[in-house]
Amino acid sequence: MATYSTNEFKSGMKIMQDGDPCSIVENELVKPGKGQAFSRVKIRNLKTGRVVERTFKSGESVEAADVMDTDMQYLYADGEFWNFMDSETFEQVAADSKAVGDAAKWLKEQDTCTITLWDGVPISVTPQNFVVLQITETDPGVRGDTASGGGKPATLETGAVVRVPLFIEIGEIIKVDTRSGEYVGRAKDE
């Protein structure tokens, strides 16, 4: 079993805590002049996304988590699992709804996304920062309105709902920032 000493802690390191794989977000050494040193860390639970603060006595060792991020292509959903494929090895993995979470609404078949694997099993799915999707439903476009602050809701082919400017029509293809869920612009014809 691989372990890390607190002296090796750095952000991005994957460790086991409370039975779950976690990622170190921030690590700070605190050391009162002549006394016991501590590592004060913020850790993100990679399964729940929750961030907690924890303090380790300096020199403690912590179990390493076998976690890796890998880019995979989204294939299809079968009702229970979302299936992904490594486009180099053609290896496939199936992620459940807990692992896919909110990412589901951005997943379009054949798009690439980042899968976090823990002991080979997907625990989270992160879509690309920008996705290009078609609008399947929205109120009719209002011509001439190019810069209204208001906007209107539009449903995308993957089910996500984003606010778009009033002039956008059904069938148009737009670019969306998945981190904020915001409309970026019309996708250029390619």
Partner: protein, 289 residues
């Protein structure tokens, strides 16, 4: 005051249970391994000079500590250390205060005893408190800590570093003085109902800047302190550090009445430059050295 320069490497290491020395292998031949310690402060060498009759002395040098790396720590850093013969530790605090004035850091400083500090910030009476009470206090403040056993000083240090230190020395530099005897290191201990180590630390903007003592003058006490510190090291599964006879023999002669302080120059520089990380005041930090 005389400037001195003492050796960086010595066969005697620092016995402090919370400081880890960097070692160098000075092997003349493959079967004769000789381990030398890089200084974690020039304390031993400067005290040897004092024990041998030197007057007040100061030194600026690089010191080395294994594992200390972070926003405010670099494993090698610069230290200004000085000893004033005839000065009490409170008088030495006055002198440091003057230095801070000259440097334009602040024209006044404050002082508070360690005991008052815990009472003021955490309403803890150190004369009458159990480890369980300290644990409760940590839990109430939502400190989620891994790896601490029932060591009283470790819990004090946890509370101090997490809840108190960040608030110290904001308005003006603050000297915290008179530590529990169990945290004496090499400071003089004043025997009272609640024995006190005549030690102080200087805080500036939540950061520890200096550590000083009313020095232990009785020669034979040094050997005892080293022994006790090594016992602490062993109980924490750390290696024993040897202090060689040449050092012990000098310290055995005893020190004149004096006070000494070590001040972290990089951190002082951080304050003067308004830098938030120690690497901002270094040419190349340890990871990039």
């Amino acid at each position: 005051m005389l400037e001195v320069e003492t050796p960086v490497f010595s066969k005697s290491g620092n016995t402090d249970p919370f400081i880890q020395s960097l070692t160098a292998n000075f092997s003349i031949s493959a079967d004769r391994e000789e381990i030398y310690y890089a200084q974690t402060s020039p304390e031993f060498a400067m005290k040897r000079l004092l024990a041998n009759g030197s007057d007040s002395i100061y030194q600026i040098c690089k010191v080395f500590r294994v594992g200390e790396m972070g926003r405010r720590h670099n494993p090698e850093f610069s230290m200004l250390e000085w000893y004033r013969i005839g000065l009490s530790y409170h008088e030495l605090m006055n002198e440091i205060s003057e230095l801070l004035k000259v440097l334009g850091v602040s024209d006044h400083s404050q002082r508070m005893s360690y005991k008052d500090l815990f009472y003021q910030y955490l309403k803890i009476d150190l004369c009458n408190v159990s480890v369980d009470h300290l644990k409760n206090c940590a839990a109430k403040s939502k400190i989620d800590v891994i790896g601490l056993d029932d060591n009283f000083d470790d819990w004090l240090n946890l509370l101090l570093s997490h809840l108190i230190e960040p608030q110290l020395g904001i308005e003006a530099p603050l000297f915290v003085y008179d530590y529990p005897a169990s945290q004496a290191a090499l400071a003089n201990i004043r025997e009272e109902a609640y024995p006190i180590a005549e030690r102080f630390e200087l805080y500036l903007n939540g950061i520890e800047l200096a550590n000083g003592y009313q020095e232990l003058t009785t020669g034979e006490f040094y050997k005892k302190r080293f022994y006790l510190e090594n016992e602490k090291r062993l109980s924490r599964n750390m290696n024993k550090i040897s202090v060689q006879n040449n050092v012990l023999e000098d310290l055995q002669k005893g020190l004149p009445f004096c006070s000494g302080v070590a001040l972290g120059l990089d951190r002082l520089l951080m304050h003067l430059c308004n830098a938030s990380e120690i690497k901002d005041v270094l040419t190349f930090d340890f990871l990039n050295s």
